[in-house]
């Protein structure tokens, strides 16, 4: 487990600044294949910035990011999907004026072969039947939960090894939070690896094999999800006491 090559994603001593404001200070993070890994922390802890650095939209000043042993630090954002990293943005940003099917096609638009795109669309539809029902509607017409499914489906179009999710349950009804977390567990069972940032810390820890708790841009705690759930300090600081 500790060998370099067993890590799908490896972040070392990562510093990120926006202008003159430093947000991340020497972050270390590992993602092992087949696991669900969560990053938790209060607002402003830099959770989202970590994943934004991975997918190339936040500038890494120092440190390194390796994916499958290959350095991807400062790789341009549009080159990331082809490496096998799918991304589900915060606030389930879908293309509102495009149909559900077109949204999914966008997820695989790197594929030149139309047949493979259609196969991928069918694969996502069989995973999310709800999306199939709504395939000809504009994505802007979907409910929040459906849009989140669409954003996840879109990220799955290229069959990525690592799926990165930014706040997947944010703003969803409790019912849909359950559905989304169930889906995430399902993705893990299919052998995918997940890295997510989640404000619903208790929920995230309960499904995570490993989790990182950040504080003010630094690593604070890191352990299995269950261990962090039982850690009194973590409970006090991140889970609202008790």
């Amino acid at each position: 487990m500790s060998g370099n090559n067993s890590k799908l994603l490896k972040i070392r001593a990562l510093d990120v600044s926006y202008g003159s404001v430093q947000v991340l200070f020497g972050i270390d993070l590992d993602v092992t294949p087949g696991e669900i890994v969560s990053i938790i922390g209060p607002n402003g802890a830099g959770k989202s910035t970590v994943i934004k650095a991975v997918i190339g939209i936040a500038p890494a000043q120092r440190g390194s990011i390796h994916f499958k042993g290959r350095e991807i630090t400062r790789q341009p954002a549009h080159e990331i999907p082809a490496l096998g990293i799918g991304y589900v943005p915060q606030g389930r940003i879908v293309f509102a004026e495009m149909t559900v099917t077109e949204n999914l096609e966008m997820g695989a638009f790197l594929l030149k072969d139309g047949k493979r795109v259609r196969d991928a669309v069918d694969r996502v539809f069989s995973e999310f039947p709800r999306l199939h029902e709504r395939r000809k509607q504009n994505a802007g017409r979907l409910s929040g939960g459906e849009q989140q499914m669409l954003a996840i489906g879109r990220a799955l179009m290229l069959d990525p090894e690592l799926v990165i999710l930014d706040e997947p349950s944010l703003g969803l009804s409790p019912k849909y939070v359950d559905i989304i977390f169930e889906k995430l567990m399902g993705l893990k069972e299919q052998g995918r690896t997940l890295l997510m940032v989640e404000q619903n810390a208790a929920r995230a820890l309960s499904v995570s094999d490993h989790a990182y708790a950040l504080e003010l841009g630094k690593n604070r705690f890191s352990d299995t999800g269950q261990a962090l759930l039982n850690n009194t300090d973590v409970r006090k600081m991140y889970l609202g006491g008790a």
């Binding site: 997918i55 939209i57 954002a77 549009h78 080159e79 990331i80 999907p81 082809a82 991304y87 943005p89 940003i93 879908v94 293309f95 509102a96 004026e97 495009m98 077109e102 096609e105 966008m106 997820g107 638009f109 790197l110 539809f125 069989s126 995973e127 999310f128 039947p129 709800r130 199939h132 029902e133 000809k136 509607q137 409910s143 939960g145 459906e146 499914m149 879109r154 019912k175 849909y176 559905i179 169930e182 889906k183 399902g186």
Partner: protein, 324 residues
């Protein structure tokens, strides 16, 4: 796609034969109509499809018309002058696009506004080359016939529509629409947004550059104010928004309506057509933000077979009994 070709044929075939039957007045009206389609469709290519609004596309029209007029004065045949206008517009657009389309937000719009003003000022001050505010008059002997000019504008309209249709139906069309809908997400899905925007922009400059030469040859006189004309920018925007931004036929439909209305009003009340433009713009933005074509499309969308799921009974995970 097939319907598009049929409509295009129904428009183009009679248009090709118009010079044989139409009076010079009608031919001139049609020439203006084709020019408006060519310009509006070019604006649509960058601004309608990507959402990056150009407030100064007349700059390429002006650059082209000066390049063409100067080339004709230098003794070039008119068709080479047309090519010169297109190429110069392209040469100006490329670095400008590379510089400003790397940035998100309003920089591009402002740069285009500036380019048009800059063009007008250079054309006014560079007297040795452009004869300044006096403008350039072209002797009729150097110029093509009305029919040739008409055919040139028709071809430019067809080229611009063809470019938009080709891009719209292809992969790049999907990429441009994705950029318009959400540039960050597109990039995260693998769209090289800068490259796409720059290509669309450079393509959108070529036809206006050539159309500027056509205009200079048609009027046989240009001056800085008439070709780097702010009103031309407004016309392009109004035409596209009225018809339907980011669509293939919207700019064509918009050009028919605007050019037609202008002809009526221009003859009766010379200054009213400017007010008409403004009023039209306000009405469209308030009541028809997606243009006239959106009315037709909306109707299409309610067809029942598009709402009810048709095939593939959904089986997994009990997703569909939740909600609604």
């Amino acid at each position: 796609m097939r319907n598009d070709l049929i409509i295009a044929a129904l428009l183009v075939v009679p248009a090709l034969f118009a010079p044989m039957v139409a009076s010079p007045y009608h031919l001139t009206f049609l020439l203006n109509l084709w020019m408006m389609i060519a310009l509006a469709q070019s604006w649509n290519l960058i601004s309608g499809m990507t959402g990056y609004v150009s407030f100064g596309h007349a700059a390429f029209f002006g650059i082209g018309s000066y390049a063409g007029a100067i080339a004709i004065l230098a003794g070039w045949p008119w068709y080479l002058a047309v090519v010169a206008g297109a190429v110069l517009a392209w040469i100006v657009a490329l670095p400008l696009g590379v510089l400003t389309l790397r940035l998100r937000g309003p920089y591009f719009a402002i740069a285009m506004l500036g380019l048009n003003e800059l063009g007008r000022i250079i054309a006014t001050l560079w007297v040795d080359m452009t004869e300044g505010g006096d403008g350039i008059a072209l002797h009729p002997d150097l110029l093509p016939s009305l029919t040739a000019n008409y055919t040139l504008m028709l071809i430019l309209a067809i080229i611009s529509c063809g470019m938009v249709a080709w891009i719209y139906n292809g992969r790049m069309g999907l990429e441009l629409r994705a950029i318009r809908e959400g540039e960050d997400v597109s990039e995260m899905l693998g769209v090289d947004t800068v490259r796409n925007k720059v290509i669309a922009f450079v393509l959108s400059a070529i036809v206006p550059g050539a159309a500027g030469v056509g205009y200079a040859m048609f009027t046989s006189y240009i001056d800085p104010a008439s070709v780097f004309a702010p009103v031309l920018n407004i016309q392009m925007i109004v035409v596209v928004l009225l018809g339907g931004s980011g669509t293939i036929w919207g700019p064509v439909l918009g050009a028919f309506i605007v050019t037609g209305l202008q002809e009526v009003f221009w003859a009766q009340f010379p200054m009213v057509h400017m007010m008409l433009m403004g009023t039209l713009l306000i009405v469209v933005i308030l009541y028809l933000p997606n243009g006239i074509l959106s009315i037709i499309h909306k109707r299409k969308r309610i067809r029942p077979d598009q709402i009810t799921p048709t095939s593939e009974p959904a089986k997994s995970a009990g997703m569909q009994e939740v909600e609604r």
